[in-house]
Amino acid sequence: MRYLPLTDADRSAMLAAVGASDIDALFTDVPAEHLLDGPVEGLPMHASEMAVERHMARLAQKNTAAGDVPFFLGAGAYRHHIPASVDHLIQRGEFLTAYTPYQPEIAQGTLQMLFEFQTQVARLYGCAVANASMYDGSTACWEAIAMATRVKRRTRAVLSPGLHPHYVSTAKTMARFTGDEIVSGAPDLSGDCGEDALIAQIDEATACVVVQYPDILGRIPDLARVADAAHEKGALLIAVNTEPVALGLIESPGALGADIVVGEGQSIGVGLNFGGPYLGLFAVRDTKLVRQMPGRLCGETVDAEGKRGFVLTLSTREQHIRREKATSNICTNSGLCALAFSIHMSLLGGEGLGKLARINHSLARDAAAKLAALEGVELVNTGGFFNEFTLRLAGKDARDIALALAKRDILAGVSLGRLYPDVQALSDGLVVAVTETCTAEDIDALADALAEELR
């Protein structure tokens, strides 16, 4: 077998060296009646690399790759162009096949990268400190809520209706077991982000308010207002961002008063990957909260010769030291995705991110104008949007329309019926994302096809 270096001669020599008559002499602790006497049944035997590659390629070809069609899906996962150097660099064996940097003397590559990443995320979010990444945006969001309830010793979390419904579900699942109270609801199809209603729900038992920015419909809430209201009641504001490219154009949540900023970092460097692996970002505005943060942190220090070096630090918060008293059970982060993010962000810089953001915005405006001009189409986002907006399709079920367009090889957007199957009022909503990867021809193709389907 191509991955197993022991030869039969090696095996014999080693069995002899350990004093075992055969390999099963090393499995004597397994009760004999449970030790299998041959390969597990019902599964194929080993195969050549060529055969496996063919099998997997056939499965891959059954999917419609985003790059092959006009593509407008977003709703928490965005398709951006990733420079070829990013993937080249993350495939360096020294990055790809390293473990968590527990031995810092021989892990400075990963550690320095994490320190750079933390700084990039903190600056992007307008925060003091960011951690070394988490699983994804949705789990980072729950970790933020859990941290807020811990810090505030309160159990109520008020979620904005504009928060991604998967994030809401995830929080509800966890809250059911922790006994926390989650206040949430579906959004309205209006240009107003509903800050008033949200603020009205904040009370003295509220540990945190969670606001997505921009929200699931692409609207941009007034974070500063919510921050003030939350702080007034002694609650924390958790801002959730699922499209970091937006922050090249609009203000950082930290600068608007968010106490904890979390988000999905997939847009930068990571790619679509059918939903995973993604990259949870987590930052706090005030360094005082650092010791309550979940997840790994990398810090600067010096070595025995006084040279600058980096280590994982403040690990007394973590499960491998603190066990049941840890700030989270999280262990693995998204190291390789963090690396991809950091490389892509290094290539962009603040200048490039700003330009990329403006290109996204501008294309999205063009697309929105073109689509809203169609008969039977109405633009929900009257208050502005970044690169994503919601259309109402004149009472038609947007799921059917999206499916019909997919059959025409146009992936038109995410229907709200897919995200909120129980909310009839949202069923004609279609969330359309437009990034730099969309061409003017793509937009025309969408507009033409949509017009035909609505006719």
Partner: protein
């Protein structure tokens, strides 16, 4: 040979990305939301970027450079075919919310991987969405809690052995349980009688790692399961060490109700310097009804559908709900399935056998120089456990670890499991050659002998690594977690600080 930080290298004026399009106007209604200050992130051109990260990478040790014998972490070779497959546009460039008819191949990957996991473990269902091992533990514990609650049985305690990974108690606590220790025998295994004595109506279940973190198979696993079930509890098995037994024994046959599988351990997806992981959880018949959403099912026409919240109300009414956005670590699924298909049922069995043979070879080759606390009780599984007993006064496990760095190796896991003093847990995995093991053993022996002889130079090891020992106390006492612009900008570093190769 130092590498500056990106903040010291790049300038805000530069950029490694070109944009063909000129950005257009910003919508006036966005005015109030615009950034006040420009983002202070440095931009690097591609040559600078490639060089920075290439040079940084060379300060890492990795499995591609040599053995990485971290016990319980299972650093095995990561096949390159897996990487190639994961990058096929049909897998890497598809959106999680695409119409389901356009991602049938992706669903098939999930279906096929599920089938492999169920058959290899002898379990009836699998939850694919957990994002990593600890997330899988959470999934399993939530399923247990949901199952108990469904029968109106509010239990409060989860029992864990002291030798468990920290994630076990942390997960149980995160899910709202109180954690109590399970005592161990002198042989390093769960004390069955003591466990039985503790079982009762308040015990929701046990979390047992098997093979355990001492590298031993829990001989009494079946009896433990039976006792826990008899007492109304459920059995969680930490599958971190499944590597050692895949294809040799099925946890389902031992009465396990839930077990997560670290795809990045047993099934070779890369660790990537600390993630991403992927932790599918196999479930027994008793727990299958409580599995999280979403999941993949074939409909009556044979089309694959993703069952999300609403449809789950019909198909899996007792599901405990969603654990994460979207539906799992697709990028890891493609790699793991590629690995499984490559090895086949026969190859995976060989994986377990070779990993166990390699570990025993290390155990028996070194027990004359290093104390092997459970060595006398029989063979180990995939990892060999040693203690610091017999080292010279003032010499510790840490010194052996750092000394091993100077020999050109990554150290073993140290000070874990906690049940052994100065533990050293060596896991070679099945992808090391005998020749490679012989070298590793020679190095371990040399360092152990120095530690026993009281060689003082060992205490300042490593001497030949990119860094000497780092001041972790300083890092924690005065945390510096982000880079700050220095008061006066740094001058040009002198050449000897920068260096090239």
């Amino acid at each position: 040979l130092e590498e500056p930080l990106i903040f010291e290298l790049g300038t805000r004026a530069n950029c490694g990305v070109d944009f063909g399009q000129e950005p257009g106007e910003v919508a006036p209604e966005l005015g109030k939301h615009l950034r006040k200050e420009p983002l202070t992130l440095p931009g690097l051109t591609e040559p600078e970027t490639v060089r920075h990260y290439t040079r940084l990478s060379r300060q890492n040790y990795a499995i591609d450079l040599g053995p990485f014998p971290l016990g319980s972490c299972t650093m095995k070779h990561n096949p390159r075919l897996n990487e190639k497959v994961a990058r096929m546009p049909g897998f890497a460039d598809i959106h999680p919310l695409q119409p389901m008819d356009t991602v049938q191949g992706a669903f098939e990957v999930i279906e096929q991987l599920s089938e492999w996991l169920c058959k290899l473990t002898g379990m009836s269902a699998v939850a694919m969405t957990p994002k990593a091992g600890a997330h899988g533990e959470l999934c399993g514990i939530l399923a247990i809690r949901a199952a108990l609650e469904a029968r109106g049985d509010a239990r409060e305690v989860i029992l864990c052995p002291e030798s468990a990974h920290g994630t076990n108690p942390a997960t149980a606590a995160f899910a709202g349980y109180r954690v109590e220790d399970i005592p161990a025998t002198k042989e390093g295994r769960v004390d069955l009688e003591a466990l039985k004595a503790r079982l009762g109506p308040d015990v929701a279940g046990v979390m047992i790692t098997n093979p355990n973190t001492c590298g031993l198979f829990e001989r009494d696993m079946k009896a433990i399961s039976e006792a826990v079930h008899a007492a109304g509890g459920l059995v969680y098995c930490d599958g971190a060490n499944f590597n050692a037994i895949v294809g040799k024994v099925r946890p389902g046959d031992l009465g396990v109700d839930a077990m997560h599988i670290n795809l990045h351990k047993t099934f070779s997806t890369p660790h990537g310097g600390g993630g991403p992981g992927s932790g599918p959880v196999v479930l027994s018949e008793a727990l299958a009804p409580f599995a999280p959403t979403p999941f993949v099912r074939r409909d009556e026409r044979g089309r694959m559908r993703l069952v999300e919240e609403r449809a789950a109300k019909d198909l899996l009414p007792d599901s405990f709900g969603r654990m994460t956005a979207f539906h799992g670590q697709m990028g890891m699924f493609t790699r793991a399935l590629t690995y499984m298909l490559s090895h086949g049922a026969d190859g995976l069995r060989q994986v377990a056998e070779d990993s166990v043979l390699n570990a025993n070879y290390i155990l028996r080759s070194l027990e004359d120089v290093l104390d092997a606390p459970y060595g006398a009780s029989g063979p180990c599984m995939h990892e060999a456990l040693f203690s610091d007993r017999g080292l010279a006064e003032g010499f510790s496990t840490l010194d052996i670890a750092k000394g091993l760095i100077d020999e050109g190796y990554h150290p073993m896991t140290v000070y874990f499991p906690l049940v052994v003093h100065g533990a050293m847990l060596v896991e070679p995995t099945e992808t090391e050659s005998k020749q490679g093991l012989d070298r590793l053993i020679a190095s371990l022996r040399a360092v152990a002998e120095r530690a026993k002889a009281g060689d003082e130079s060992l205490k300042s090891a490593p001497h030949y690594a990119p860094r000497r020992r780092l001041d972790e106390t300083l890092a924690a006492r005065k945390p510096v977690l982000t880079w700050e612009e220095p008061e006066t900008p740094a001058g040009i570093p002198v050449a000897s600080e920068i260096g090239g190769s």
